[in-house]
């Protein structure tokens, strides 16, 4: 029935359903704009599952991620969610990291072990980060109460709260937009590591960089989202070009995905305006745990179940985000009308 939507992909030399590509693009566009990630942790397994040749999956994915992140970053910037200084610092680390990662995955492909290693690394990262963020969300009130009790006790004793020990190897850099001062090396290694993962896993690197910006660098959630997308823009551009030179980008598929993603990204970014930081973190944690579960199913050869899992999770989360956006808009309208 959906065969009428089949298009010919000239580089991969095969027919593929355009609706699947636009739908994948749209759903990761919404997720990407909202969470500040490229969304390749959904796209690469989804393309793989629907029979897209793996030789082109990573490059095509990075190409569409680049286009989409231009859209999303511009909008986040309007909302004051992009720390340009922090984002610019990410360029060097990300570019070097992507190249090392891309070369490593080619080497593993030659050895014939790239598939399982990439999937196991995916699973470890998705589950690990998801569970940690969920734990962080569930214990936030308890931690806030403990911190308040400590502050009250210190005030009673007439002492200042002890300063938390941090990694402070000079040079230290101040980021006014995020309101933080941090070692240059912390920032560099965070971006180098996430850039490496970007090249190795064929992802924008955002699903690890966004939590890293929050937990390791100390950015507010909305700024982590916007700044992460700014970084994804550069790693995506470099990834797009370097995979293009290696002949691994299917251009027609990338354009179709980009059409869906650009529309979705606008919706996702707008939703950030209506949801608080911890709400974003909770939804992000749920999403990456579900993405990890789909990769695990794939590893056990449950391909169809994995396909349903990843696509249902992405579409379900899109619905949640769009409902939240709609409710936020309605509430805002009601408040304006009340005034």
């Amino acid at each position: 029935m959906f065969d009428i939507f089949n298009v010919y992909l000239p580089i991969a030399e095969m027919q593929f359903n355009a609706l699947i590509l636009v739908a994948i693009g749209f759903s990761v566009g919404v997720l990407g704009g909202f969470f500040g990630v490229g969304g390749a942790w959904v796209v690469t397994p989804a393309l793989n599952i629907f029979g897209f040749p793996m030789a082109y999956a990573i490059g095509t994915d990075l190409a569409h991620i680049f286009g989409k992140s231009i859209v999303a970053t511009a909008k986040h910037r309007k909302m004051g969610n992009v720390d340009m200084k922090l984002g610019l610092l990410s360029i060097v680390g990300s570019v070097v990291g992507v190249e090392i990662g891309a070369q490593n995955v080619m080497w593993l492909t030659r050895l014939g072990i790239a598939g399982p290693i990439v999937r196991y690394t995916y699973m470890f990262l998705l589950f690990g980060l998801g569970i940690y963020m969920l734990y962080d969300f569930l214990t936030k009130d308890k931690r806030a109460a403990a911190q308040a009790a400590k502050a009250a006790e210190a005030a009673r004793a007439g002492m200042a709260l002890p300063v938390r020990k941090t990694w402070d190897l000079p040079p230290m850099i101040h980021f006014p937009a995020s309101g933080i001062t941090i070692s240059f090396w912390t920032v560099t290694f965070v971006f180098l590591f996430t850039g490496y993962l970007s090249g190795f896993l064929g992802v924008g690197g955002g699903f690890i960089r966004m939590p890293a910006l929050i937990y390791l660098i100390g950015c507010p959630t909305a700024i982590a989202v916007g700044t992460d997308l700014f970084s994804v823009l550069f790693s995506g551009a470099y990834g797009c070009f370097t995979y293009g030179v290696k002949g691994r980008v299917e251009i027609i598929a990338a354009i179709l995905m980009l059409i869906g993603a650009s529309i979705g990204a606008q919706i996702g970014v707008t939703a950030v305006k209506y949801i608080r930081g911890y709400g974003i973190r909770l939804l992000f944690a749920i999403m990456i745990i579900l993405a990890g579960a789909s990769v695990a199913l794939k590893q056990f050869n449950l391909t169809t179940a994995a396909a349903w899992m990843v696509m249902s999770a992405a579409l379900g989360m899109c619905v949640v985000i769009m409902v939240q956006l709609w409710q936020g808009v309605q509430k805002e309208r009601a408040e304006k009308a009340g005034h």
């Binding site: 000239p10 070009f241 980008v249």
Partner: protein
């Protein structure tokens, strides 16, 4: 002495990415030529660039992604504004 160790440690950290890069295998291009026989129009153009000059192909892909992304963003923005979903600076709440 402390300053010396800071400079020394900075130099060491700076050299780490280079070591990683040197240790990595060189990336391999996909050795493939697309069959142009049954292609026409834009598909033919893309495949021809792909066959003849991979650098040009990569450049076209990168530029095209940026341009298409911006154009779609422009159009979507107009529709979102019409729906009352315009955005401006927000306050950051955790």
């Amino acid at each position: 002495m402390k300053r010396f160790w800071v400079v020394f440690f900075n130099c060491f950290l700076l050299s780490l990415p280079t070591l990683g890069w040197a240790a990595a295998e060189k990336a391999e291009a996909l050795e493939k030529k697309v069959n142009l026989a049954n292609l026409s129009g834009i598909n033919y153009m893309f495949a021809k660039w792909y066959n003849e000059n991979m650098w040009l192909y990569a450049l076209i892909v990168t530029v095209l992604m940026g341009v298409v992304g911006m154009l779609i963003a422009l159009v979507t923005d107009i529709f979102l504004k019409m729906a009352g979903m315009e955005v401006s600076k927000i306050e950051h709440h955790e």
